[in-house]
């Protein structure tokens, strides 16, 4: 992180209309060309952070002291400007390919469309690009898969198609929101490896949103732990075992382990003070 960061967020707060309290409160972090994990339980606001960065929350009140993506001020940018940024320079991989691919269009056409939306290219060029990218995510026979419909491909392949679509425009920032939760263990590792290799090769900044501590431990450089809309702890992924915050420690202890003792698992005792602000910003 010697060069200037790709993304700089200071005190991001998101308040959904009708909700009594903000869903995300005072979240601050910087992202360089590295892999940042955001973990927390459901409802902790981790996906909301991702969506706020993509400006995909039109009805929520999003405030921040600073939300800068390279030269773009994400708070003040017009929607027209965002259309040029979203999908081209920053993109998002969603959880379940069953719901994020259009069921009535061929997979390859959807990948090519993502390319033609942002780059001036002929259909033939876009097709060639898409096939090359499908090949890069290790889909065998990319020409054949190009013409398949989403229901004809497996979950793992669908997610690789999504990754191809999102990386085709060479973005600088990719937000992966639970990219492998819907996949089997055997497939999960392959997909993560592919994503990881591409992110490293292209020097992309990656935000990995997940509830899975094992995943962020293995595939991220740094981790933010969120609880009730706040970042309670930030540490290097390798130091996860040395976590100080009782919430992080509780999450780690509650995870059953292969070869564990089979004693009752320690249950997380929640402390109301965890929702109070503290100096956990990076």
């Amino acid at each position: 992180m010697n060069q200037s960061p790709i993304l700089d967020v200071q005190n991001l707060t998101v308040h959904y209309g009708g909700a009594p309290a903000p869903s995300v409160q005072d979240v601050s972090f910087q992202l360089g060309r590295e892999r940042l994990g955001i973990v927390g339980e459901s409802g902790s606001g981790k996906s909301t952070v991702g969506r706020a960065l993509m400006r995909l929350l039109p009805s929520a009140r999003v405030t921040a002291d600073r939300m800068q993506f390279e030269d773009v001020d994400l708070l003040g940018a017009s929607e027209r400007k965002m259309l040029a940024v979203r999908g081209a320079r920053m993109s998002m991989i969603l959880q379940d390919p069953k719901f994020s691919l259009n069921p009535i269009r061929r997979c390859g056409d959807q990948v090519a469309e993502a390319y033609r939306t942002h780059v001036r290219a002929s259909k033939a060029e876009a097709r060639a690009k898409a096939i090359a990218m499908l090949d890069a995510v290790q889909i065998r026979e990319p020409e054949r898969v190009y013409d398949l419909y989403p229901h004809e491909v497996s979950g793992g392949m669908g997610q690789r198609i999504m990754i191809a679509m999102m990386l085709l425009t060479s973005p600088d920032l990719v937000i992966a929101d639970e990219p492998t939760s819907a996949l089997d263990v055997t497939v999960r590792l392959q997909v993560l490896k592919i994503l990881d290799d591409l992110v490293r090769e292209q020097g992309i900044g990656l935000i990995m949103i997940s509830h899975d501590l094992n995943l962020v431990r293995n595939f991220c450089d740094r981790v933010l732990i969120m609880y009730a809309g706040r970042v309670v702890e930030a540490l290097n992924a390798a130091d996860l075992d040395k976590a100080q915050h009782p919430y992080t420690r509780g999450l780690l202890a509650a995870q059953p382990r292969i070869g564990g003792s089979r004693q009752p698992l320690p249950v997380l005792a929640r402390d109301p003070s965890w929702t109070q602000p503290q100096g956990a910003a990076l």
Partner: protein, 249 residues
């Protein structure tokens, strides 16, 4: 406390054979796991054995009696099922009281109020929750209600279809502890589907690895770590799970 024996279970949906001559036996009081990738037929075994699917061949014996020969009322008092997603398995407009009272009423069991209270106490919920609706409960509390519903007819066998995969780790720990405690207290036989080997390792004595409708291998819990699995797919699955967890070891 009854053993479960599945004999040559086969089911086809259209031209596809989903289960192909599956046989396994679970001792009484044992927790037996079923693992495998999605679409391998794990949940289908539970759904056939509980007669939620009818068009299968083969037989399932619970305590020596065939599930086919039991009438539905009797079957419900022998085996119960807990489903994967507590957001989908509870009726949104039925209060916890309605959910728990219905089986008691159908089976003509008295002392309803006392039994409902006991069921909630058994699963660790306050008795005031009887008058709550599902949207007033968290995911973990909902799954406890689903377990209470399964317990209220005092069955011998519980089928658990991914009981914690829709829940956070912290809540999963509570539910797994609850299931273990109930097995110790009431001597249930569990047949449990999961895609998470760490959960299987924590809960089960033995488990079967499934692939495309076949059981490729039945292994004791220790086989996960000592590498005695022989079937290539079982090795692959165990290998992938261990790699995934590696940094945690």
């Amino acid at each position: 406390m009854k053993p479960v024996v599945i004999q040559d279970m086969t089911i086809r949906f259209g031209g596809t054979t989903v289960l192909n001559d599956v046989s396994l036996s679970v001792a009484s009081g044992e927790c037996f796991g079923l693992v495998g990738e999605s679409g391998s037929g794990k949940s289908t075994i539970l759904r056939c054995a509980s007669m939620l699917y009818k068009g299968w061949t083969g037989d399932v014996l619970i305590g020596g009696q065939s599930v086919r020969s039991m009438d539905p009322m009797e079957r419900c008092r022998v085996l119960q099922m807990v489903f994967q997603d507590p957001y989908g398995s509870l009726h949104p407009r039925h209060s916890v009281r309605t959910v728990l009272a219905e089986p008691l009423r159908i089976h003509g069991i008295g002392e309803q109020e006392a039994r409902m209270r006991q069921a909630l106490i058994d699963v660790g919920l306050p008795v005031e929750f009887l008058d709550r609706y599902p949207h007033q409960l968290s995911g973990g509390q909902r799954q406890r209600v689903a377990i209470a519903r399964a317990l209220i007819l005092e069955p011998d066998v519980l089928f658990l279809d991914e009981p914690t995969s829709a829940l956070d780790v912290s809540v999963q720990a509570e539910i797994l502890n609850l299931l273990q405690r109930l097995r110790d207290e009431k001597g249930f036989t569990y047949l449990m589907v999961s895609h998470d080997l760490a959960v299987i390792d924590h809960m089960c004595d033995r488990f079967a690895v499934m692939k495309t409708g076949d059981i490729v291998e039945v292994l004791p819990r220790d086989a996960i770590l000592d590498g005695t699995a022989k079937a290539p797919y079982a090795q692959e699955l165990i290998g992938a799970s261990l790699t995934y967890e590696q940094a945690a070891m």
